[in-house]
Symmetry: C4
Subunit: 382 residues, 4 copies
């Protein structure tokens, strides 16, 4: 059924597609973008826009988390980042930014900033500090989502839920329903999720089988995506997101059938840089997207114009790095508000701003007014 090629005698490889390879094809009566509804319901929560933020300290300052809620989306706090390691969070962030800014512009990337991240993450995690900060955000009224790694989930999840997390994100570069380790007790996600009182979104996954197993653990949502794009070079593992989303959507159909109607949400995370990418991800089958670098220019983002994924802080094998946020056309101008990035108005033609407005227009031009039915829009590859 799949499209396989024989790369050498007796060795096959599947042909896969990234978002960049595909395009949306309008072929129905056009609609007004005002008639488009972008509401996203997951578990008991409703969001006006199908947008989460990637769980990085480069985005999630308290102000950012609160503003994401106001703008209709969901910000995610990284429990294993700097929030619980440094009493003076601003100073910690400032150290990363200073290292990045001091880099010789001729260098491709800032190893000094990576070193700063590595050193800052070597500090111990102070549970009380983390809990206090989570609590403060919760008090603001924003929906609080906190990310833990699969390795630390058992230890940290109860604490962050206790502190106020309403949605738990269990996210590693790659996750499986049962991680196998010699010695040490593996995390059985099904049992673990069953023991929690809050809905869980887990990932990332990139294939049908792992996704189906993850759905069977009871997760409310599954994150599709295989981490940063340096994985393609450093690990030989390149996630082609269009294929991955479509495969996981097939797992969603299978699981719907198995369960007689339990719908697990798919959140696409990675490679999503513009409003067009958001539209394509949903067209492939995603229910929502997690945005990272594209939100980093926001005035409310913690990173002051810099971005890094959490894995950039790995002590021995960092993937990703500290980079300037894609302000694109904004030399010498102030950083835009998160509202502008998400809802416009914009003077920028590529969909780095007014991201949700772009999604609305794409849907309207194709004649769709809700996210679920837009998952069936025609696609082309070139």
């Amino acid at each position: 059924m799949r499209d396989y090629v024989e790369i050498g005698i007796g060795r096959e490889a599947r042909r896969t597609y990234s978002l960049e390879d595909i395009s949306i094809v309008p072929s129905r009566r056009t609609r007004s973008s005002k008639d488009v509804d972008t509401t996203w319901h997951i578990d008991a929560y409703t969001f006006n826009i199908p947008v989460m933020s990637h769980p990085t300290d480069a985005l999630a300052s308290p102000e950012f988390v609160i503003e994401m809620g106001r703008q209709g989306g969901l910000a995610v706090i990284n429990a294993e980042g700097l929030w619980g390691r440094h009493e003076d969070l601003d100073a910690a962030i400032a150290r990363v930014v200073a290292a990045a800014e001091s880099t010789n512009p001729l260098e491709l990337l800032s190893t000094a900033a990576t070193t700063a991240l590595q050193e800052l993450h070597a500090y111990p995690l102070n549970d009380e500090l983390l809990a206090r900060r989570i609590g403060e955000v919760r008090e603001s009224g924003a929906t609080v989502a906190v990310r833990v790694s699969p390795q630390k989930a058992r230890e940290l999840a109860p604490k962050v839920i206790q502190a106020g997390a309403e949605l738990l994100i269990i996210q590693g570069t790659m996750i499986s329903a049962e991680h196998v380790a010699t010695g040490g007790e593996p995390l059985n996600l099904k049992e673990f999720i069953g023991s929690l009182e809050v809905p869980v979104i887990a990932g990332g996954v990139t294939d049908y089988t792992t996704a189906l197993h993850l759905m069977r653990t009871g997760a409310a949502g599954v994150i599709v995506g295989g981490g940063t794009n340096t994985n393609a070079i450093s690990l030989g593992i390149e996630t082609h997101l269009a294929t991955a989303i479509a495969d996981v959507a097939a797992a969603r159909r299978e699981y719907l059938d198995e369960t007689g109607g339990r719908y697990v949400h798919i959140i696409a995370d990675g490679d999503i840089e513009t409003s067009g990418d958001v539209a394509k991800a949903i067209a492939c089958g995603a229910d929502a997207v997690a945005l990272g670098e594209v939100l980093a220019p926001a005035a409310e983002a913690a990173g002051q114009g810099y971005y890094w994924p959490p894995v950039a802080a790995h002590p021995r094998f960092p993937r990703g790095f500290v980079s300037e946020a894609p302000t694109v056309l904004l030399e010498n101008e102030e950083r835009p508000s998160l509202e502008t990035l998400l809802h416009g108005p914009s003077t920028e033609p590529y969909g780095y701003q007014n991201i949700v407005g772009g999604l609305r227009r794409a849907m309207a031009k194709c004649g769709y007014t809700d996210l679920k039915s837009f998952q069936k829009v025609g696609l082309s590859v070139r």
Copy 2:
């Protein structure tokens, strides 16, 4: 029948082709380019060359419209641009140009120029001013074509026809025979076109079905193309023009059969940058082309060496932007005349000048002497 690939389990995408992907294949006895006839007949009008201009204020000054007629083509005036909004049109254009010129050359594009366009288009449309200007051009003897958007067609079309428009262009980024809107009366193009006294060219469309519906509205011509190439990034909707033209040509055959002989013209609009692109568009099935940026270097063009598509002026989600016209090799030289751009002679080897000369040579080398039969020339993809 079509070529589909499975991008993920149960999700297909059609393989499509842009003009860049294809090449014309000569395989007949060669002819002299002097024997090539490029006449284009549409409705009661005959043009020596199969060339319209894209309806932008960056091209259509009164001088440009008149000169296009002299050179055998058809210029299109944008009824919703600056002609009807600013008594001092030159000053309005000059403001856009000044903003573009003041941009730091290191920036990728001029947001200041976009802001200027947005502000200038926020002025109210003065029907009398627009009518007066259309009338002045009409008096010069040039064939007058005026573009209205589908949204404003009902309101503006009678006025511009009254003012002297001989051809009405109803053009939006995407158009459908019936636009659906909650509240408000949709534009039924069939009834609307039937009520007009002038021939209508409508678009853009990119697929067979929409094109066929549009043909059934009574349009004399259909514009193929999905707007600016920033749509690919901002909306996820990338028009692959070779496929789109061929699909719409198939709709033309179907409609010919349905009607027992009514021939609807296809005008390709978008991605057409050189004489080679013009030849390819016709080889795919177009009867004529609409040229935009490639005409912007003309001394007669309004934009003084700058170009922008009408959608660059959108108040919240501009697509396209103000850019320097592709003078290519002409640093420190005067801008060429529209005659040189269309008919040469040229010192430029890529077909940015002597565009119709390039079309003639392509046809002659393939052994064709008229546009219609050249639609059957052999093609290759690499």
Copy 3:
């Protein structure tokens, strides 16, 4: 049998391949490159290497023609270039070079040099001057090959043969066995070639049918190639040389069968930039190659480090332009001799020098020792 794709509904395009797309695959016992024989026999002539030069004044100075003969190849003189138009040929060339050198380095190409070429070619052709120059080269003992255009063949061929041309090259961008023109007598190549006393090589062609027709005219060789690579942009006609050579080789087989053994040689011309390209062209089925720009760095070349194809001089629609010869790594060094370019030794790793040495090594590594059998070597596409 061919590989076709449907680019749009009811419109097909053939999938074709350029030399860049393919690679030679070694799979036999390796040989020593010393055992490789590169002899090329065509008609009564034998050349040590299967190499002609492209008929441009940028290469063919008298010294260049003589040295090509010494190095085992065949230089081609352009009868319609500057040799017969300017008594002081050096001064004419110097004017082109000076225009090119005076160009602002930021410009993509030198329109001043194109203008110089256009003006220099506007001078009348002095038959006696041309004949005298051809005669002088003939006296040196080199084999003399002269190119005429199909348009001027009837007029000029007798004169250049009378002057000493031993091989006649009838070459235009595209040629067909019978060019059709309204008014004026078309050139019937079969009759014309039959009337000549010297062997004729004719081209360029890019398809099976035209090649077969051309073979039937009695030509000793057929040139495969569709002119400069600006044609792809200016005419929409891009020659994919690997496919073109293979198709014409199929015509050669057909014609061999038709005639019971008449072998027409195939000379590949265009896109051939390195020794690897020479090897690929022969692997696709060519018997020899015509080299242009890659020979321009030679100290003996007329252009003093600049190159242009003859079509760069077209008065209204030039294709190709004056460009710096690809000295590649030779900043501040002397220009290499033609001997070094063809036979080495070299300090350059990409096969821009020791071109024939590279061909020998490619053949040896694949286990072939003569050109004809190397036409069957395995190929891959990526």
Copy 4:
């Protein structure tokens, strides 16, 4: 069975894939990278990591050879390089480095450095000097592997084995089991290898048939790869390593069957630049890899930050050239130790450092804990 395309009438080419074209697809339960075993057993030797070094003087100083052993891999000494030609080896290397450093940075590559290499290799090979140096390294306790060319194998192999070589590498750009030469006695590898007392690794090969023949000679390992990537341009022979490895792995299966269980190792050599490439090579079927340029930044490498392949020294037709080692992000920093390059820790996100750590993580994320079973991991092409 294979995937062939018709590039022209009657001429086919096989579709092949490079490492860059493929990606590893995780689809099993994830593991901890600590559980991954990268041990490589070949003949009587066991290495902790599946890594050889390419046999170039740019890497193999005595310190480098010894340190490679300490880090678990195998360094290879080039018997035909500078070790046996220059009493003062450091001075010889320094001359190459000085030539490279003196090159104008605007030049694409240093012909002066190539000239230096050519001149330094023109010195006679002093067998005693070579033997003395090999002996000194042997005394250090490191496993000693020495490379000879097929042409010189008969003459040099006994000497280097006598001097202490424990593994003999017979490596040329392309090798076949029997090289055919007019006059002179061909090297019959089967007889030759049978006569030696040490295990032999031979290559490079790129196809099934040659690999099978080479396996039948009794070689313990076969090197897959066709030399430097300038071959693609200079010879028209481009090795697509993913296909080549898979084809040779098929030959390994055939030979296993023929012999009832003799397992010949496959070492991939060429194009391997990052930890991701190492993982992909093994995923395609390799048992180990030979690393070249990626190890050149090591403080222990002979080339002091420069790299060249042995073929860069060819007297008439060099392929490859002297280039700066890919320090990538390390401007103004010290060169990393070989330990850091192989085992980390790293601040670099692309897998140019901590190469084995990257391999471990790739395997763990895919759920594999040993190299042999990782050869079956899923693959994709885009």
